[in-house]
């Protein structure tokens, strides 16, 4: 039985307001769709495709608060008035019906304790204090934060902060809640906590959830519908399985979006002739479809062992008995680690485990409290800072923090001019970089007005243009879609192939699985594991201690072929070999 719509969007078009007042190109064009009450809907789209703009229009932030022009209608189902044009409701009334959780929990926490944070909106809407207390308890219970009422918001982890922000929204008991990439700033354990909280809310509360999320492996299984935002248009809603069945590979290959690994494998097999009538949304369904009676074949273990081993050359960076403290307690304790040329080393661990601190010790931003960091055999403390940072380039998570010039061209040229290259040579090298990164057409624009993906590529380019020995990146693919992430990682791989050592800090285990040659796992300031990704994801005790999670393919590939595999393409090839050339139908 279909339920009444909670949102009806009719032929809706939206234009941004420009600072100079001229007409900007449309951001959304002739959008029409309906969302039923109580549904969970995944909003998919490339970075910069208009997902957040759509969400902000549904909430009413655009155009009411930040301007812009719109045409068409957005109707909301009001409990008493029925379907009503959003504009006929007062903002306060509207926000109590439709609310939104943003990406970064730091941007939305506005008080100093958890209970005040959850109560904040209720107090603003003049709710009787006697009714507020039970709502706080209910909301905290929903997000799994019972017992956190009195805690200071300043002392929460990223995942806890995001769950507090979610509780603050739930306490208002809205009819619709929009979640804009709620896990993008979180480590694997924080991501799991938030997704579990969303699942609990979905099951226990009569609420419509609209989720914008890149973590597709977990989310596709949670939602009832999928909406695709592409080139200012909105397609759908679709039933998730039907959507993936019809558009899965197109979405991955042409739009450059992540799709679940189980779906990737199933669709590739289907393309090769294996008949899989029902596309599996998760690893369990894939195993049930392909190998219900146990593994189909065993992959030789030697193949995995050969994938990566510590290089035999001299390390370019050597960390010896390193400890570091900001004043109260050690952040890092007795670390030993080597970084080699031509390798991609992933540093992983929970938020607060010391990853960024370690990376900042590599190029002398911080100096060790005890022990040493040697670069090419010489302690970092013996280098001049200006000289060391040219050899060990550090790239921050937020690209804008790295920009110091007014044009894209000058950003890259800055580092080259410091090397005293001639203007001609500088220009030639900058142009070559801009072409490689597909930024040439933006050469005279301000770096601040590029899209997120372009900013990230530029921030990498301006640090690697001077050809450093080591490149250290903090969350290189943060906020990027599949295609952008792939391109960036390919750029890093080519730097490694040219002889640089690439060290990247990440929470994205798919990235580690697909690209890292080695990983170092930090937990509470100590390295608890060093080795290749296969060994890491096959060490449950390390994963549990450092609160990491293997990508889903690691688990379901073991059940399919008897050995864990980390790359969907590799697994697909193996399965194709197993199934042979003749087509086969699986249930």
């Amino acid at each position: 039985m279909t339920r009444p719509p909670v949102f009806v969007v009719e032929d809706y078009t939206f234009w941004f307001r420009t600072p100079m007042g001229e007409v900007a190109p449309t951001a959304l064009e002739n959008v029409s769709f309906e969302i039923e009450q109580g549904e969970s809907v995944l909003i998919l789209g490339q970075s910069g495709s208009g997902k957040s703009t759509l969400a902000l229009n549904l909430v009413g932030i655009y155009p009411d608060y930040f301007g812009g022009r719109n045409q068409g209608r957005i109707l909301i189902n009001h409990p008493e008035k029925g379907l009503i044009n959003r504009r006929e409701l007062q903002p306060g009334e509207r926000f109590q019906l439709v609310n939104m959780l943003f990406q970064n929990p730091e941007d939305q926490i506005v008080t100093l304790s958890v209970e005040e944070e959850v109560a904040f909106a209720l107090e603003n809407y003049l709710m009787d204090p006697a009714d507020i207390n039970p709502r706080i308890d209910r909301a905290l219970d929903l997000v799994g934060l019972q017992g956190f009422r009195e805690r200071s918001t300043l002392k929460l982890s990223g995942g806890e902060k995001q769950r507090v922000a979610l509780a603050a929204m739930l306490a208002m008991e809205p009819k619709v809640l929009i979640l804009d990439e709620p896990t993008s700033n979180l480590d694997p354990v924080g991501t799991s906590e938030v997704l579990e909280a969303i699942d609990r809310v979905r099951k226990r509360v009569d609420i419509t959830l609209l989720v914008i999320e890149h973590e597709v492996d977990a989310v596709f299984d949670l939602v009832d519908r999928v909406v695709l935002v592409d080139e200012k248009s909105v397609h759908g809603p679709y039933e998730p399985r039907t959507f993936l069945e019809r558009h899965g590979l197109d979405v991955r290959d042409h739009l450059g979006l992540w799709i679940p690994q189980s779906v990737e494998v199933a669709l590739e097999l289907r393309k090769a002739g294996t008949s899989i009538p029902r596309i599996p949304l998760n690893g369990n369904e894939l195993v049930e479809a392909l190998a219900p009676d146990g593994p189909l074949a065993t992959v030789e273990a030697a193949k995995h062992e050969a994938v990566s081993s510590a290089p035999s050359s001299e390390p370019v960076i050597e960390v010896k008995d390193l400890s570091f403290s900001y004043g109260e307690g050690d952040v890092l304790r007795g670390l030993n680690l080597q970084v080699y040329r031509s390798e991609l080393l992933a540093i992983v661990g929970q938020n607060g485990s010391g990853k960024s601190t370690l990376a900042q010790l590599f190029n002398g931003i911080l100096t060790p409290t005890a022990g040493q960091v040697l670069v090419e055999g010489k302690p970092t403390t013996d280098y001049k800072f200006a000289h060391l940072v040219k050899r060990v380039a550090y790239i921050f998570q937020v690209p804008e923090k790295q920009f110091i010039r007014t044009t894209v061209f000058d950003e890259i040229a800055h580092g080259l001019r410091a090397l005293k290259l001639s203007e001609e040579e500088t220009e030639a090298r900058v142009i070559s970089f801009l072409e490689r990164l597909r930024l040439l057409e933006h050469r005279d624009r301000s770096p601040y007005i590029l899209s997120h993906g372009q900013k990230r590529r530029l921030s990498v380019a301006c640090m690697v243009a001077a050809e450093p020995d080591v490149v250290v990146l903090d969350e290189p693919t943060f906020g990027q879609d599949y295609q952008q992430a792939q391109r960036l990682m390919q750029l890093l791989r080519s730097l490694a192939n040219d002889g640089a050592a690439v060290v990247f800090i990440t929470h994205d285990m798919r990235l580690v699985a697909e690209y890292a040659d080695r990983c170092a796992v930090l937990s509470s300031g100590e390295i608890v594991f060093e080795g290749n990704p296969y060994r890491l994801f096959s060490s449950p005790e390390v994963l549990s201690q450092s609160k990491l999670k293997a990508p889903p393919i690691h688990e379901f590939s073991q059940r399919l072929v008897g050995q864990p595999m980390l790359d969907a393409h590799e697994l697909t090839q193996r399965l194709k070999e197993v199934f042979g050339a003749e087509s086969r139908t699986v249930v």
Partner: protein, 273 residues
């Protein structure tokens, strides 16, 4: 990053039980006496008094006061060391006769007393301010002031500041590191480099601050901040009669003392000298 947290400490001390308004009256009383008092012994006594209150009536360890108080210590030491050399002429009065006593052997006990008085003045005000910060729940302060007719958005602003300040500091630190890494202003002299870096820091902080500020404004708006002229408060309002009596008695005694010691001829702010 080192943690410098100027915020409420949960406890149940006499000061925690006082209303924010009573504590404000107390802090104003301390500040009046500290600023207008000219007797060094009263200055020392006032500092010892607030220090004893901090130690025994706030349930906050003195170590916590020290961790923040040490920030103003260099300023206090400068007052103590430098100002005795200006005593008698009293540079602050705008008098024609400004006596700068050099060398050191010319200093009198009165000169040193003058420096000490200034130092203890800021110590007493500083400690009383910290007592207020450590024992006043921000929500109680907002509630107390908004019930007295202040706009709650205005009085909530300092709370927002406390929440957002650490993130702003971190942003500034990272931009400064970037400037060093990328050697901004490399081809100029020291002064110009400092200027170029300061200008860039201001611009980058403005751009990133505006962007974050926009999200924060949205987060506040969609949670009804400013939707109504007033708001309710979940926390029950503190109402402690003993605390109120203590604060007002202290304030009245302060005023009486200041009236009794009033002598226009010795007051530092007397422009008639």
């Amino acid at each position: 990053m080192p943690n410098l947290e100027l915020s409420f400490r949960e406890a149940s001390s006499p000061f925690h039980r006082m209303t924010p308004s009573s504590k404000l009256v107390f802090v104003i009383g301390v500040s009046f006496v500290a600023i207008f008092n000219t007797n060094m012994w009263v200055g020392i006594g006032l500092f010892v008094f607030v220090l004893l209150l901090a130690a025994f009536a706030t349930s906050v360890p003195l170590k916590t006061y020290w961790s923040l108080g040490k920030v103003i210590l260099p300023f206090v030491i400068i007052l103590f060391v430098v100002f005795p050399f200006f005593y008698s002429g009293q540079a602050t009065t705008g008098s024609d006769i400004i006596v700068i006593r050099t060398p050191i052997r010319d200093l009198t006990w009165a000169d040193i007393g003058f420096g000490s008085l200034l130092a203890f003045r800021f110590l007493a005000i500083g400690v009383s301010g910290l007592i207020f910060a450590f024992t006043t729940h921000p929500s109680d302060l907002v509630q107390s002031l908004s019930k007295r007719g202040w706009d709650y958005r205005l009085v909530h602003a300092p709370v927002l500041g406390l929440v957002l300040f650490p993130a702003l500091l971190e942003m500034g630190r990272e931009i400064s590191i970037t400037q060093r890494i990328r050697d901004l202003g490399q081809d100029t002299n020291w002064f110009k480099r400092k200027w170029v870096r300061l200008r860039h820091l201001a611009f980058a902080m403005l751009v990133l601050g505006l962007r974050n500020g926009q999200t924060q404004a949205m987060a506040l708006d969609i949670r009804g901040y400013g939707a109504h002229k007033t708001r309710t408060f979940m926390r029950p309002m503190i109402n402690n009669r003993a605390g109120t009596i203590f604060a007002w008695v202290f304030f009245i005694l302060s005023v009486i003392y200041l009236i009794l010691q009033w002598d226009p001829m010795t007051m530092q702010w007397n422009m008639q000298l």
